[in-house]
Amino acid sequence: MIQTFTRQRIDILVDAPLCEWLTEQAVAAGILHHSILPVESGHGRAGAWRDEGFGTVPKRMFLALTNEAKVGALLDRIAPDIERYGLVVAIQDVRVMRGERF
């Protein structure tokens, strides 16, 4: 069976206008690769929202597979802003192929 490596997956729900800021933080933390998925709607403390083009600040889902050290570095960088930017962060262990890439 093909060899796998344990790395981490970090998912961050982030406001679309703050996406660029977040990816810059990720790069600064050494996370050079990521993907952004669309989010259609949601429900939070501020009530329900739906991306209808106008009238809300829509969310995106930032997703990166990387190693523990870099996840730690990213968390340290964004820690002071998590609350005020309303970031929702989830970290999990994953198994990946091509371990050297992450």
């Binding site: 209808e52 009238g55 809300t56 802003d81």
Partner: protein
């Protein structure tokens, strides 16, 4: 009579239909890419038309005067809004600054709707008003940030990003770009594209306002953050700002159409470009407040009451 006429235009009726559908919790909805596409189209269309008109009419000193006045309004109007938001609506400094930025800036859709209505009442505003609108979009953001945070407002790193967001904002670039294209091509070369950008305009505006009705009403329904004092300011501010705009128009000796357009730019509040910039610059401010006030209160008020009112008043005030 003229006011009533305006309310019976299909453009306004589609807005009302959208609002009623959302109020009744219908699942009617406009796909988000269509909404964005229509707004691009409307900006390209009014930019082009404005440019072509200026190409016809030639440059006048008035163009510069009104541009300067518009930018001054955009810089200054947030001060009044800030004072009322602090004093009357009891908002904290941060949120008051954020909201003030929106009221100093402009709503493109409101401008488009008032232009359409004015044109149908034979008071078409001057072509250069599109450029004035583009110039008014962003100064208010600067005032709003200073009010919210004071001088050291934005950290060095994000300042360039913010300036880019503010100055090279998609809508400013498209409006001014299309305006310049209109200026460059003039009337003859505009002919082949006028079926799309002129003939199709009012019909497509109907579809867009259907969506705005849905969105504004849904936001009103969802807006927990809105106190009655804020809601009241959502009506008072456009009246005050509109009156100031009308006064400036009278001082400048503008014709009724152009003056009414300037007044409506003053009266309107941004809910597309400014929220994105403010989310970036003032992340601690509550989007629920500024979006609800500008989109769910002021925008419908301007469409349903402000425009008809202005169409009555402008010819009286501006000889």
């Amino acid at each position: 009579m003229a006011a009533f006429e305006t309310l019976l235009s299909p453009v306004i009726l589609f807005f009302v239909l959208g609002a009623l559908a959302a109020a009744a919790r219908s699942d009617l909805s406009v796909p988000e890419p269509l909404a964005k596409s229509l707004s691009l189209y409307l900006m390209a269309a009014i930019g082009l038309k404005g440019g072509v008109q200026v190409a016809e009419a030639g440059f006048t000193p008035q163009l510069l005067q009104v541009s300067a006045a518009g930018m001054a309004l955009s810089f200054a109007l947030p001060l009044l809004a800030f004072a009322l938001l602090r004093g009357f609506a009891k908002l904290d400094r941060l949120n008051a600054g954020a909201v003030a930025a929106h009221y100093g800036s402009v709503s493109i859709v409101t401008f488009v709707t008032v232009s359409d209505a004015l044109t149908r009442s034979n008071m078409a505003p001057a072509g250069f008003m599109v450029a004035v609108m583009a110039l008014m979009e962003t100064p208010a953001v600067i005032t709003g940030l200073l009010l919210a945070r004071g001088q050291g407002a934005v950290a060095g790193g994000s300042r360039t990003k913010l300036m880019r967001e503010v100055l090279l904002n998609g809508s400013v670039v498209l409006l001014l770009g299309a305006f310049l294209i209109g200026l460059a091509i003039g009337k003859a070369r505009f002919e082949p594209i006028s079926p799309v950008f002129v003939t199709g305009f009012t019909g497509l505006l109907c579809l867009f306002l259907l969506d705005m009705g849905l969105i504004a009403m849904r936001r009103l329904r969802e807006s927990r953050a809105l106190s009655w004092r804020m809601a009241a300011l959502g009506v008072i501010l456009p009246l005050l700002n509109g009156a100031i705009g009308l006064a400036v128009a009278a001082l400048l000796g503008l014709d009724p159409g152009t003056g009414a357009a300037l007044a409506m730019l003053a009266a309107s509040a941004s809910y597309i470009a400014v929220p994105a910039a403010v989310r970036l610059a003032l992340p601690d401010a509550d989007p629920g407040i500024y979006l609800s006030m500008s989109l769910a209160v002021t925008f419908p008020f301007n469409i349903l009451i402000g425009i008809p009112l202005l169409i009555q008043l402008a010819p009286l005030v501006l000889s």
